[in-house]
């Protein structure tokens, strides 16, 4: 069965410091991986995806993610965190056909302090 794990419930970072939000996955075959962000009282917003190609994927708001096949990881990163990055982050993997539903991790609360 396909699954995603986000080992940290919360990540605290000082503004201006680099941030990493961790994600590991378990899939059969090639993974299709996504990151979404949820701001308070809002829906999930797509940040970036890995389908194939370069292991470093660039997305919205200056975020990027590194796909590591040997470690089955897809960690979200940003070189310099902003207070406005504080939100709930979800990693997801696309399930095998049919349907292509997303399977989500439990989410990581990112808090960036001034």
């Amino acid at each position: 069965a396909q699954s995603v794990a986000q080992p940290e419930d919360q990540v605290n970072v000082a503004e201006g410091n680099p941030l990493t939000v961790k994600c590991t996955y378990s899939v059969s075959g090639n993974p299709y991986l996504f990151w979404y962000v949820q701001y308070p009282n809002r829906g999930l917003q797509f940040l970036l995806k890995y389908i194939t190609g370069d292991n470093l994927v660039k997305g919205s708001y200056g975020f990027e993610a590194e796909f590591n096949k040997s470690q089955t990881s897809f960690h979200l990163k940003k070189p310099s965190a902003l207070v406005s990055d504080s939100a709930l982050y979800f990693c997801a993997v696309r399930a095998l056909p049919p349907g292509g539903k997303l399977i989500f991790g439990q989410g990581t609360e990112l808090s960036v302090k001034p």
């Binding site: 917003q45 056909p97 997303l102």
Partner: protein, 118 residues
């Protein structure tokens, strides 16, 4: 373009009552998904429509939940009768249908309906 809209945004009902949630997907999106997040847990898949047909309803927890998608446009999710464990945030998402891009295309989510069953 208008995004995915859901209403109500919040609903508080008593155990045993009925609640109907509505989702309007982005116009032209054939795929419509329902998800649920219980406090602090992962976002769990409930079901997937392609137009008006149920493609995958493997995530529906039990027969108290009924989802419909009239004419392949908006969708409703009815919970009858509601139980305490049904509390959570219900998300709807939509995406275009494209055989080539099915696994590439991100889902567009609504803001969710927060359901509280007391």
């Amino acid at each position: 373009e208008a995004g995915v809209t859901q209403f109500p945004s919040h609903s508080v009902i008593e155990k045993g009552q009925t609640v109907t949630l509505r989702c309007d997907p982005i116009s032209g999106h054939d795929n419509l998904y329902w998800y649920r997040r219980v406090m602090g847990k992962e976002i769990k898949f409930l079901l997937h429509f392609v137009k008006e047909s149920k493609q995958d309803e493997s995530g529906m927890p039990n027969n108290r939940f009924l989802a419909e998608r009239t004419g392949g446009t908006y969708s409703t999710l009815k919970v009858q009768p509601a139980e305490l464990e049904d509390s959570g945030v219900y998300f709807c998402a939509s995406s275009q249908w494209d055989d080539r891009a099915l696994y590439n295309s991100p889902l567009h989510f609504g803001n969710g309906t927060r359901l509280t069953v007391t």
